[in-house]
Symmetry: C2
Subunit: 795 residues, 2 copies
């Protein structure tokens, strides 16, 4: 049992309810002329949208139980004028997809309301008005599959009679699926870029795939949800040749300040008055179900891979300003400011004349990253972005505090390899022949300039830090991130948020308990509905008060998945500062001073390789403290907490350390210890493909984090640092072996509730097998505990 929280329901007057119910033909115009029981039969029949005639709807009534001894047909025979809360609940739950055999009992239907947060009327329904209100609320209640009841009716064809009316229809502040999903237009155009990244003397063409309601060919202008998706053209599988990380550290002072090449740039001709229809059809369906859901509700979906991707010219230059430019240029075309052609012969121009010039962006990971990039350009037409699990600085993706640090499950990956992964225009033979030389040259330059040797900051990375340009952001901004995302680490969203929080634009933040995941199919939050509200407000100027409808920051609890915390912001100011010292007894103590010295011997990658386990298995064994890994780590464990606390923001570690070589890498992990059933690391699929995004259209699962098997600990956060950056994170110094240095750095940000009776553990180590380089040599690290400290903010 789990709460189906609803944040996107707007309270409204009976008058509004009646108006909206009439508009969708649920309530007859002459409703005041028919009886209570007729109205009840009508409502239930309408919800059974699969029954197409009055006769068929009437036959359906007998399948509903009103109580533990009577079905709805028999109940209506006595022409009742009132409905108890229990009677309403029994029918309502069945309409929402629950079963009396298994999900609830007909004698106590109200229990389900409590367990699953399903709204019920407070008192018996004894008037037609009360019945109307109860059903208005029910249509706007999330069914067992997680969707609004109205959406499940849409999947059964309820809104088919509205297809082709060429207008939006809103209900409770959200756009309804009144667009014919069988007739979606799917077409491809080619936008001309100002760039010439393959340096063939011709401006790069950028392939754009558009999916839009056919109604937008009949006078209705629709907004565009644009996803800049470098994977859209396909993924080149290069994982086998990731860079070798089994190598010793290098003296980081040898950093030669690499730069980023700038590519040719010639403004394309402005578009003429010419506007021909597209001549190439897009065959892909939307890879992101949130987009498809909104497509059925009138929002065009626009995908473009950008330079280097299949169907487009140019080469991929991961993170470079050219990627920002080409992603922005699609919006320029959508807004009417840039030329596009029907095919690659550049002969026939085509316009986005179907677009209302209001553009939003969506997407996760690289796709979320490009939203930040484009938003900072302040491009005209871009009204809002919903950026999920996004990189805000590429240094924070592939590097950390002077070290080469891999995203989780991507050991040895870097900008050159991610560029190759997305260089899908090499797939087509003709394009392959043409672009191979420029591609190979660029690969060499990326490899050199990204500098996997030292890991130091440089202008190469400086140009890949979008946070320097947040002042340019003119659109509203929603960020979504998993607090356990070790691919795009939470620092990316945290540092961006601190900037956004100072800007005069509407901005929101969602933090869920997942890793590198979307959150649009969870039981515990109606994210999809919220996005419907949001995009109606931002792109259709609907006055639904979306920005005030839910709290600025929503954070999923790490103990109870169906509890979401509302906060005004996300930073250490939410809490009180706490210091912890380390002592030679292996204690993490807030009361005593630190004392003594302790050391560990790092084996680099040697023992890990001979163990022949995966990086994830290693991390689990290592953090748990399995005996064979104990000599290459130091563990400091707190007393059990007497009452729960929540760690907020970025914990900071201060260390005084010496190493046996004149170089070194430090890793620090903060874990929570205690035998408990914690939430699953990824949401479990509760009902596969249960959500229908429209009439005979796409599908989405229903998922949630649920209590997992008993385990002993959980990683809260971690961080890594190059010893040679002890004095300056951006500049390495020469250090001496066996000499103490003081340093401090921040761990990744969190919002982590530590329940009472569990302990906090701090682990100091060096080689992090899944993230750092894995040296071939051994190195001893010694800590002066009198000068080590962990600091965090708790609420």
């Amino acid at each position: 049992m789990m709460k189906y929280n609803q944040y996107a329901y707007l309270s409204c007057s009976l008058q509004t309810q009646i108006k909206e119910l009439k508009a969708i033909h649920f309530l007859p115009e002459a409703w005041s002329e028919i009886s209570f029981s007729q109205l009840l039969a009508r409502f239930v029949g309408e919800i059974c949208a699969e029954a197409k005639t009055d006769e068929a709807k009437k036959a359906k009534l007998a399948t509903f139980a009103v109580s533990d001894h009577e079905n709805l047909t028999d109940f209506l025979r006595n022409k009742p004028e009132t409905l108890t809360v229990q009677e309403f609940a029994n029918v309502a739950w069945q309409l929402l997809g629950y079963h009396p055999y298994g999900d609830y009992t007909l004698s106590h239907p109200e229990d389900l309301s409590k367990h699953q947060q399903l709204p019920l009327p407070e008192k018996p329904i004894n008037s037609r008005e009360a019945l109307i209100s109860a059903f208005y609320r029910l249509l706007n209640t999330r069914a067992k599959n997680g969707q609004l009841l109205l959406d499940t009716m849409a999947a059964n064809g309820y809104f088919n009679p509205f297809f082709g009316q060429n207008k939006f229809l809103f209900f409770n502040g959200k756009s309804l699926p009144v667009f014919d999903t069988q007739k979606i237009i799917r077409e491809v155009v080619y936008v001309e870029s100002d760039l010439d990244t393959d340096e063939d003397g011709q401006n790069d063409l950028l392939q754009v795939s558009i999916m839009r309601p056919q109604e937008s060919d009949h006078g209705l202008k629709v907004p565009a949800l644009y996803t800049a998706d470098p994977y859209f053209g396909g993924i080149i599988d290069n994982v086998k040749r990731n860079h070798d990380v089994d190598e010793n550290l290098t003296d980081a002072v040898q950093d030669d300040h690499p730069d980023q090449k700038v590519f040719p740039h010639h403004p394309a001709a402005k578009p003429s008055q010419e506007d021909h229809p597209a001549t190439e059809s897009a065959v892909e369906s939307s890879p992101y179900s949130l987009n498809e859901y909104l497509l059925a509700r009138g929002f065009a979906n626009v995908y473009a891979g950008g330079i280097g991707t299949r169907g487009s010219d140019g080469i991929r230059i991961c993170g470079a300003p050219e990627e920002t430019i080409c992603a922005r240029e699609i919006i320029e075309w959508l807004h009417g400011d840039r030329v596009a052609y029907t095919d690659r012969s550049r002969k026939t121009q085509t316009k986005a004349s179907w677009c209302n010039q209001s553009i939003g962006m969506t997407g996760r990971s690289y796709l979320g990253t490009l939203q930040i990039a484009v938003a900072t350009t302040g491009v005209a037409g871009l009204k809002t972005v919903v950026s999920e699990a996004a990189i805000s600085s590429w240094y924070d993706y592939y590097r950390e505090h002077g070290l080469v640090i891999a995203p989780e499950a991507c050991q040895g990956e870097d900008t050159d390899l991610l560029s190759e992964t997305c260089q899908s225009n090499l797939w087509d033979g003709g394009d392959y022949l043409k672009r191979k030389p420029a591609y190979e040259q660029n690969q060499k330059e990326l490899l050199k300039n990204e500098d996997r040797v030292t890991g130091q900051y440089s202008s190469f990375w400086e140009t890949r830090n979008y946070r320097h340009h947040t002042d340019g952001i003119k659109c509203s901004f929603i960020s979504v991130h998993g607090l356990n995302d070790w691919n795009v680490k939470p620092k990316n969203v945290y540092k961006l948020w601190q900037k956004l929080d100072t800007l005069p634009i509407p901005h929101k933040l969602f933090l869920h308990q997942g890793p590198h995941y979307n959150m649009n199919n969870l039981v515990s939050i109606d994210f999809t509905d919220l996005m419907n509200l949001w995009f109606c407000h931002e792109l259709l100027q609907l006055d639904n008060h979306a920005p005030e409808q839910w709290p600025t920051v929503m954070i999923q609890d790490n103990l109870k998945a169906d509890c979401w915390h509302a906060e005004k912001t996300w930073n250490t100011a939410l809490g009180q500062k706490r210091n912890y010292q380390l002592n030679s007894a292996g204690e993490l103590t807030s009361t005593d001073p630190g004392e003594g010295q302790k050391e560990f011997l790092d084996f680099g990658g040697k023992k890990f390789k001979s163990a022949a386990i995966s990086e994830a298995e290693w991390q689990n064994e290592f953090l748990k403290g399995k005996a064979n890994w104990l000599d290459s780590q130091l563990r400091f464990i707190s007393e059990p907490f007497s009452h729960p606390i929540t760690i907020v923001g970025r914990p900071k570690i201060k260390l005084r350390v010496k190493a046996s070589l004149p170089k070194g890498q430090l890793s620090v992990a903060l874990i929570e210890l205690g035998k408990r059933r914690r939430l699953t690391p990824i949401p479990r699929t509760l009902m596969a493909r249960s959500q229908k995004l429209g009439y005979r259209f796409g599908y989405e699962d229903l998922k949630e984090f649920v209590p997992d098997k008993m385990n002993e600990f959980k990683l809260i956060t971690k961080g890594h640092m190059n010893l040679q950056n002890y004095a300056d994170m951006k500049k390495a110094r020469t250090i001496n072996a066996d000499e103490f240095y003081e340093l401090s750095f921040f761990l990744q940000p969190t919002y982590y509730q530590i329940p009472a009776e569990t302990k906090l553990g701090l682990i100091l180590y060096s080689t992090d097998q899944g993230m750092t380089k894995r040296p071939l040599e051994e190195e001893k690290y010694t800590f002066d505990l009198s000068d080590c400290q962990l600091t965090f903010y708790q609420k």
Copy 2:
């Protein structure tokens, strides 16, 4: 690299090729008036179906490479009149979805042809006729995603201009997707049964969901693919209350010969002339992609859950004759011989007037089982069945040789619980109130009559053995089964096949290397295309020689997944008899006599439970011979085989055994031993959702068994027997403790190639944790090896 075998390609004359190519508008009528190079450009442009205009198609040509230095646009500029095999291959592979960057090299494209079994012309193409033939073959070649190139074009809209022509179009003997998948009619009707299984005095209504081309509303009669699917209405999750198997054996002589109740039966009224359109829409999409593929090609899909399932009356009586009857009655309606109504009020009759009265059946497991059941009735209209992983006798599903034996991963399941699983009409409140008493009564009777106490054969099981009625089969019959299916064990298909092989009907058999799986998405065989051929022949009377097109029995090799063996039949007659003896040194020997005595002590479920591992983990450890399980088994290992052999059919074991209690259960496993990379137990997904079943329609993956991690053994076959049945498999005898008895029984059938240098292992044990009961008491089993023997047939 893996072979894309093609069995469904029909060789045909140039004249036929030209005729068919013209019919699909691929070849212009006036082709002899245009040049070789124009024809080549035209063909490539047509295959690029996503490009909708000549201009757009022309622009596409530059994306193809003809050689490692020239693209197709440049190549055509010189108006060539010939094409080398390499040039053709380079363009062809790209059209099939392969990439020169990754999949093959432009300088040696012919290598791909060898590795993947892709057809290529034998000599340079130097005439228009040769070019036409080459492209005819190419359109009929399986693309990288496993589908025919023509099917990938269909997904891009190639056949959209043919929609609404209201006729079938055939190409190379198969039906083309010329039916508008955006306009499929999905409707529900209610067939009236002769049965009254809920004993409410009214004949049960059976809900039928129909998906059919809208063209069938415009004068075109189409065949029906009917799937009798007890899971269609939903699955009641009762796994938590499976029967307890942790109990001692009971004296099997106490078997009280349980019987099967017979339910009321009143012939329904014959249909009148009335025929009204359906008034309820079906919302489900086809759960089986083969059906959806064929729906896009004009074959209606019909699903019915039968008695007890959601939307239908009655109760579920797993395996009973009533299930056969209600499944058959849907065909009677499709054939025009039975009445159906538009809704459950039984007022308005509706006919399957869209149906050509030719019906085929499809489906796997329970759904395949009901095909056998219905086929034995010889019902009019049923022309063919494709029965996958089907139960041919329910005793062989839940019992074996006098023991209660679970299907894999279903410990404690039985007919009563499977009935409950499918009793989805309890979900609707009104139906729940009405049917609960009859349902509960039936549950009690099933539990009693299935007799989980003794496991003996009885009339309850006798009525559930469809093999007694195979003489009634009038339709053609295709069986499909996994040789590693430990859910529906291969004995089911083997014993059925021996019957089918004597009948005067076309019959075919496919045996793949999977467990309880479909095989319609494998790389190594074009099963989907074969089924297209087959159903066109059987249901549309197309003269495509389908029955002669591929061998009677096709068996996937257990070493190389892309090798399929052709056999005339499947039984021991394919091989030579071999006997193996057992000796006290633990040897399995074909040369020496058996000798000595050996014993093991069975611990029932005790040690398994304390190990806290899964049944699958237990089986892996136990058969591998992990030390802690060795005292409850006897192992006999052969010398390594000097040359490969294939074990065919059912090995037989003869044993002389005494037990320390006057009851006992014996298990025997045959394994193959040797450190090797064997095939994955389930096919790996190679390209997820890569096969498009029609234009904007369903999807299917591409899968295949691939070499897995190194492991040490593989289970070939096993079997179980109740000691008390030593004299008669259908009648238990009293036995004495510590007295020797002779017995013999057959293991499950196989077709297993043992490669040279590996050994055969025979394991004798008692409790099989995942299948037998798990006694609470210990029991010692002693074998007189001088009278034990393993016999099998090898080729």
